[in-house]
Symmetry: C2
Subunit: 246 residues, 2 copies
Amino acid sequence: MPQSNPQPTIVLIRPQMGENIGAAARAMWNFGLDRMRIVAPRDGWPNQKAVAMASGAGRLLDEAQLSDDTAGAISDCSFVYATTARPRDLTKPVFTPEAAMKDVRARIAAGEKVAVMFGPERAGMENDDIARANAIISVPVNPDFPSLNLAQCVLLLGYEWRREAVPTESSRVDAVGDWAEQIEIEKLSQHYEERMEEAGFFYPEHKAANMKLNLRNLWSRMPLTRADVQMLHGVMRQMVRWKERG
Amino acid sequence: MPQSNPQPTIVLIRPQMGENIGAAARAMWNFGLDRMRIVAPRDGWPNQKAVAMASGAGRLLDEAQLSDDTAGAISDCSFVYATTARPRDLTKPVFTPEAAMKDVRARIAAGEKVAVMFGPERAGMENDDIARANAIISVPVNPDFPSLNLAQCVLLLGYEWRREAVPTESSRVDAVGDWAEQIEIEKLSQHYEERMEEAGFFYPEHKAANMKLNLRNLWSRMPLTRADVQMLHGVMRQMVRWKERG
């Protein structure tokens, strides 16, 4: 079956506190993931604390698939990752979140069904469950303080998923109104130069050319909108008026 | 002054709940950031709830610099980013976390002192404070559910900082023990082929060559350790023993 809105399934294995399940749902939906599966939640299901915490992402909990065991939760998936902080005594490929989500995207594009498993709070994943995974995802945390909680792990993977899946301009400048055109910058430049000339700013004489060049360069290197240019004209006109009032 | 362990300074502006300040400290230290400044925390300072939440990252709170206002907190910085979810009516460069942390790294390498500002919970940053920033960082969240909390924002920026600053292999395979050498794979292959030949597995005759090729390929495409190879030999030997017992 072709997937609409293709994405990895998030599998929470034996989560303990409802609040953490709710926080994980929020973290998923923050980055557009909405397929959750839950294996044997400690406090049963549904869980009111999960619902309260998930506010706004409650739909994910309503639609979450429950399983009694890990094998049941991932039975229809062709590739499964286990997220874990500590290396284990298991030979297994280990990916950074970034490399893992690149891999997920490629697999999903090829029609694979992919799941990312997260272990219970504190204890983390058991080796039995890790052995079911095709690969491990390890977040490159500070080795002196590697304590990420469940929702934080989900958040980081969700972030990487969206970073991979949704192309975003890496930087842009949001202009309020139009950018000024070169002729407007040129006129601004002239306005200031003329007034500053009158005011005796370009002194001593042998430095004047360089001072004018620097002033001109200052305007052109600033990304100015039309409104900025008008304001700068206004500043100078006001100084002249103030001077003329004596 | 050259910085030891160069990094951006994290500035929390008018944070409200102590728990969130503590959680932000944890998120920073998870990714190796430990320079925090706090502007006018609502509930005063020090804050016991912050200390309780920060467990393990309490040193950041002890060493945090307090300021009465934003200008005071960033006075010694040459480049300042404001993190904000919503676009504002201010003309300003907008970076993704990734692009921002690349920029931060370049600036720090050039000797600049850089700060990243985070606004209060709920309200987010005020325009007065955003106007003090040289650029904006915007996390590419799901537009239908953009609600990141303070510590989550700090976590994502910290993650990107570390991803930029600390080179990590994007993927590797952790082998427990040594990888098998080709000669060991070859012997394993032969062992299986001989026994399966005895057992009458390669049938019908005209398909035998292809079946052998596929079996051989199966072993060579699996990344096997020496221990794996020994175990696979053991499996086959045991099957033979079992057969011989009748």
